[in-house]
Symmetry: C2
Subunit: 394 residues, 2 copies
């Protein structure tokens, strides 16, 4: 023990799906966005990254990271920025209290696992960097708040900053050149509006052609419509969305969610060359949600699409049968209904829908994920690295 | 004869496909647009409307119009506006010269035929209203210029005003409340740049869900990005496009054509509810054009999409093998290659292309049309109504 001691901490961190989209950086190095964004954090029982960070003077340099069993390159600027900033905070603590072990000088060994199929095309980098930053902060016993840590996680992956909170989370773009005020803040905790649910339709697709990082920079550089979105459309929607959440007003929440998703994809299409993330299956999901809302006579379901064809459909628990029941009727044979959430839903076979839309969905959706609004990162005792610093094989 | 005489005139009129898109009306009744637009008139040997107008005091009221063998409703405000304005111009002539027969007081009998499949989803209303206005002007022996007639045709169908000219045609939005300066003008005649060709990929699709008329009004009412397009993006592109045409600069012509098509569809997607005209097949056509241009190392092909999934691909005659040859390699089994233009093209089997893109195209394209820049309306002696006023059965 002593100098050879292995220090460990473990956490799980959630995925978040934005309802006001982040698209465009004003500073690519610091991941400073051109507009604020707002997301719902999703339950970790369904989608989460589990990460253990350890350090020991017995570890050989350099720092290492293993994700889903595969060693990752940590030399990239983004991961290095996270390691450097967290070490710096630890170093300050160590300098003010000489009794503290010098963890900041020890190599880091980090192991991370996702509980969802990476092939699903779900943005896992948000959960990944949120877990990485949270777990190293825990390992270093930093007193930083989630908002303070969000400034660091943002440099790993922009949207990761929002995964440091549960519930409803805003990432305020900030105005400072150094990004010090570009941080995530809680709009409302899960408990404020716990009835929010999400149905994810995973669309079978090739690997996406354009990564978000290069795609959003192309949009900023070439779209003539983008500035209008970033400077006027989104600021207005951020206020509408915050109010809708505080008022638990699903009608406004849903309308703004759908319009902002479409606005984001419109700027992608206005990029040169154009970026298409939505395909015929995505369009069918839009149509199905429109049919559900038309039948209900109000907005009870709201679609949103990230940088890929998958649909995320938000709804309230009370409307589960009308929303998810219809999708179960059409997609009941797909993977994903076996869990407790999915098996609780009765197929809604009375609802009317367009047969062509249903056929396109059925052909193109490979699996469904049923989830809900959920908590932020959770510290756990279930370590992926043993007390001797060895990776635990599972 | 005498009062029983049947007066006749016949014309053919072309289709035009915009390279700067018309989308949005500032006055729906007068069809006054929110932005100027610019189009290429296509050859009538491939796509045209053939119309005969006749009038006689022996005809019974009201006016009648038969299109492709089916009687049409002419009581709509748009057709009525065209009839009324043309009659008014004739009436002025009759009042200043009492020897002229009183054609303005006689019922009109109009017969019209398209030489292209209406099921193809090609905007036929432009050719249709251009032919209607041109042929009645001929019947009435009006001295009005094409630009003066374009003010009338515009009230029938906005884009029809551009089909009164051949070659390269601008529709200047105008600023007058009465629409008197919202007219079409020639940018350059066919002879200025006769090498322009167009390949149309007709995509098998359901009937389009949203008509242009209601679609564009929804965009004006709900898209937050639309104003930027109409007020700043398009005016700049109109100047770039006119210069490109005058300079015979295909690189700029192609780039601006593609960007403006994407900008238009972006505002459709930003509409609430979103309007999708492009589908997976359209996206594959985009990708194929991108591959062609990449292989060439410059822009030799330019796609554009109207309010539907069909692709129109402009190119210069000198690049026919590189552009059309590749499509023939992929789509050689489809209808449309038998004509003189199509059979002259050798399939380009050496060119590389993405197999998935090609499969999507092959699955979704039902026929091709090969055409070129062409002349404006042509007066013809081939009448669809005989000297006694009877419709000639064919």
């Amino acid at each position: 023990m002593g100098d050879q001691q292995v220090f460990r901490a473990s956490t799980t961190a959630p995925v978040n799906i934005a309802v006001i989209k982040y698209w465009g950086k004003r500073d690519p190095k610091l991941n400073l966005p051109t507009n604020s964004s707002l997301s719902v954090t999703l339950a970790q029982s369904d989608l989460r990254t589990h990460t253990t960070a350890s350090c020991s003077s017995s570890f050989s340099s350099p720092d290492s990271l293993i994700l889903n069993g595969s060693p990752q390159d940590v030399s990239g600027a983004r991961t290095q920025a996270c390691f450097r900033e967290l070490r710096q905070l630890r170093k300050q603590m160590e300098e003010s209290d000489s009794k503290l072990p010098k963890l900041s000088q020890m190599p880091l060994r980090v192991v991370s696992e996702n509980n969802f199929p990476t092939a699903a095309g779900l943005a896992s980098s948000a959960a990944g960097f949120a877990a990485l930053v949270r777990v190293i902060a825990d390992l270093y016993q930093l007193s930083s708040t989630p908002t303070e840590l969000s400034r660091i996680a943002r440099q790993g992956s922009g949207s990761a900053c929002r995964s440091l909170f549960g519930g409803y989370v805003a990432w305020e773009k900030g105005t400072e050149v150094d990004g010090s005020d570009s941080v995530a803040v809680e709009v409302a905790p899960v408990s404020h509006w716990p009835e929010m649910r999400a149905l994810i339709l995973v669309v079978s697709a090739e690997k996406k052609g354009v990564s978000s990082t290069s795609g959003m920079q192309a949009t900023v550089a070439t779209s003539t419509l983008f500035t209008e979105r970033a400077e006027r459309t989104v600021p207005k929607r951020m206020e509408e969305m915050k109010k809708a959440i505080l008022d638990r007003d699903f009608d406004t929440f849903g309308k703004v969610t759908m319009r902002d998703s479409n606005s984001f994809h419109a700027t992608c299409l206005d990029t040169d060359p154009p970026i298409f993330y939505m395909n015929d299956v995505s369009q069918a999901a839009v149509r199905m949600v429109e049919e559900i809302n038309e039948a209900a006579g109000r907005v009870i379901a709201a679609y949103t699409f990230d940088a890929g064809p998958n649909a995320v459909i938000y709804y309230l628990a009370e409307n589960e049968h009308a929303v998810v029941g219809l999708f179960k009727n059409v997609l009941g044979s797909k993977d994903g209904w076996a869990g407790s959430r999915g098996s609780a839903v009765k197929s809604n076979s009375e609802a009317k829908f367009n047969a062509k839309t249903a056929a396109t969905l059925s052909e193109g959706v490979s699996r469904v994920i049923l989830t809900a609004v959920g908590e932020g990162p959770i510290s756990v005792d279930d370590h992926l690295i043993d007390a001797d610093g060895n990776i635990i094989e599972r």
